[in-house]
């Protein structure tokens, strides 16, 4: 192939500048010694990370109880979402790749559906449905079912509703590549079905399971649309940050964003490392 022309290469350069301008801005201004995340540059500081609040009237993110509580809420959602997407995603992968049953085509189509439903709609539909269930159960059983009301439990369900699709796809793709004769070989060598599963099939799936888990973790941490609708009084990080943004951003938000970016970058690197090489 010929070398790209100069103007083409300049376009590519401009594109990457465009791509990184907002992220670099966010990162750089996390260190601005000012109350506002905007120019002019008033000097370098890490106050917005570790400050006690003495300097700007607001503490750095690592000392801000509200920020830390939001982070904890994010964890309370992300950990169950991650674990469940691995477990259920694996079960779904086996179901779709290994089993035949009536309605399979329909079910596998339905499993893809959540990907094309806007997150806000997933949120409102789950909110409305769980609220109906809770109301009905309350009238019949006279029982308060708080977990069916907006709150972290519903957020977990809401995020699962579409993250499961992704984990199922990731794990299913790996299972599809699995050479069934490995299982037969293990059976042939005298292994029980359970032993085959734990020593052959699951170890083979492990990279995809870890990868799916990391992707789920990342998506759970960053999900906004569905979470916004289902959240109760405990706001996860993106919701909390959104509230702060509407209140007028301080560099503390930049600092939190930078930490999020680094965390996400770390996770994404892990994903790249565990995912099996694509055959070129």
């Amino acid at each position: 192939m010929n070398k790209a022309s100069l103007s083409y290469r300049l376009y590519i350069l401009a594109f990457y500048l465009f791509l990184f301008a907002p992220l670099v801005s966010v990162a750089v201004f996390a260190f601005n010694a000012s109350l506002f995340p905007a120019p002019p540059w008033k000097g370098f500081t890490v106050e917005w990370f570790t400050g006690t609040g003495a300097l700007f009237g607001k503490p750095g993110i690592f000392r801000d109880p509200a920020m830390l509580a939001a982070f904890l809420n994010s964890l309370k959602v992300a950990i169950p979402v991650t674990l469940l997407s691995i477990v259920i995603g694996t079960a779904n992968a086996f179901l779709l790749e290994r089993r035949e049953f009536p309605g399979k085509a329909l079910l596998s189509m339905m499993m893809l559906w959540p990907l094309v439903i806007p997150g806000v709609i997933l949120g409102i539909s789950i909110l409305a449905f769980s609220s109906r269930i809770a109301n009905a159960l309350e009238t019949w059983l006279n029982m308060d079912l708080d977990f069916l009301r907006p709150g972290l439990f519903l957020v977990i369900l809401g995020q699962l509703s579409f993250i499961l699709t992704i984990s199922t796809l990731i794990i299913g793709a790996r299972l599809k590549k699995f050479d069934r004769s490995l299982e037969e070989a293990a059976l042939d060598l005298g292994a029980s079905r359970l032993r085959v599963l734990t020593t052959i099939t699951l170890p083979f799936l492990k990279p995809a399971m870890v990868g799916a888990g990391l992707v789920a973790l990342l998506m759970s941490f960053e999900n906004f649309n569905t979470t916004l609708i289902l959240v109760g009084s405990d706001a996860p990080l993106p919701i909390y940050m959104y509230g702060q943004m509407r209140e007028g951003a301080t560099p503390a938000l930049n600092a939190a964003s930078l930490v999020l970016m680094l965390g996400a970058g770390f996770l994404a690197t892990l994903v790249a490392l565990v995912s099996p090489r694509k055959e070129a």
Partner: protein, 362 residues
């Protein structure tokens, strides 16, 4: 076969929704025997093997191993181990772990398994490879791991499903010998399936030729080669010239057959009507003139069309008037060794060498 056979199949049939992949197959394999099932792809040999291993269940018939029926016995409880076509080495394990897998499944302690693994790896020539990941082995080494993984369990029977298929030619030739030697060394019964007749002939004590779900003939490689029982066997086993024609009737020595090119030959067999005739290239006698071949009932004069030089396996393609194109082995010793294309040549063959079978069913 006075002793109890290691493996006996009694009328085994496998029906896949109306299609009989395996159709009423019966045979016995004696202890220590190297038994091959030879057939083209799709003939049902893989299904047959999977039934022996326990991955498929026969629709009818019985599979008996050392006198015990295997019906209802799951794959992981059968005293049978299999070398898979893909080898199916566990990619996430080392050589030692692969070989030790079956031992671990059998509940054998690590202390006991260790020396057994070492011993078997030494025996297959992989001493010191135990800690190597299997993904970092050559094709031949992988092959040996797959066999060692079975042999370490000391099974009654080892099944091999075209294990040499993925290897290149040189290595395949080498592995044939090695497999035969391994089998002899361990004195384990091998059932080997392949579509490569050379593998079957070289290694086996007995070979079954399979076609369309049935056994066409079971016998020693020599029997199959020299005395094919059916048209299919004659065509499938070994290199051969194939002619079609019509049987004209019995003759003093065998039967007469008129080829479509309108030449009548003397052949052997008991066919009638439309027929096929098979002639091995090495059964064709060559000479400078027809008169030198007067002892043969079939003799013709022609010209050398092409010389296919391949050392000891060199052949000539010969054209003769009213005679189909013919390949004949060219001995590399003797007066004709240096013959060139275009040279006149005489050829002939005995009636015994021309095997004639009725054409139907082929």
């Amino acid at each position: 076969m006075s002793q109890v056979a290691d493996l006996a199949l009694l009328g085994v049939t496998k029906d896949f929704g109306g299609h009989k992949a395996v159709n009423d197959v019966s045979f016995e394999v004696a202890p220590g025997e190297f038994f091959s099932i030879l057939g083209p792809s799709g003939c049902g040999k893989t299904t047959l093997m999977r039934m022996i291993a326990g991955f498929e269940h026969p629709s009818a018939g019985d599979i008996v191993i050392r006198g015990q029926s295997m019906l209802g016995v799951p794959a992981n409880r059968r005293p049978v181990n299999m070398v898979f076509q893909s080898l199916a080495l566990f990619p996430m394990m080392t050589v030692g772990e692969n070989v030790g897998y079956g031992l671990a499944c059998a509940g054998i302690s690590k202390a006991e398994a260790g020396p057994r693994i070492t011993r078997i790896l030494d025996k297959v020539g992989l001493g010191g490879f135990a800690d190597r990941p299997v993904t970092r082995l050559s094709g031949g080494q992988r092959q040996r791991v797959a066999i060692a993984r079975c042999l370490v369990l000391e099974p009654t029977l080892v099944l091999l499903d075209e294990p040499l298929g993925a290897l290149d030619l040189k290595l395949r030739e080498h592995m044939k010998l090695e497999l035969k030697q391994l089998q002899a060394a361990f004195n384990t019964t091998f059932v080997y399936i392949t579509h490569d007749q050379s593998e079957a002939l070289v290694m086996s004590n007995r070979v079954a030729v399979m076609n369309h779900g049935r056994f066409e003939q079971v016998g020693s490689p020599r029997e199959l080669y020299h005395h094919p029982a059916t048209s299919f066997v004659a065509g499938f086993v070994g290199d051969t010239n194939i002619f079609s024609g019509e049987v004209t009737g019995a003759r003093a020595a065998g039967i007469g057959i008129r080829l479509s090119t309108d030449v009548e030959l003397a052949g052997s067999g008991s066919a009638s009507g439309q027929a096929k005739a098979y002639l091995r290239p090495e059964a064709v006698a060559l000479a400078g003139s027809v008169s030198e071949l007067s002892a043969l009932p079939n003799r013709f004069a022609g010209t050398v069309s092409t010389v296919l030089f391949d050392g000891a396996a060199s052949t000539l393609v010969i054209r003769a008037d009213k005679f189909p194109m013919l390949r004949a082995t060219l001995p590399q010793a003797g007066p004709l060794a240096g013959i060139e294309a275009g040279a006149p040549i005489a050829f002939g063959f005995t009636a015994e060498a021309l095997k004639v079978f009725s054409a139907r069913g082929v």
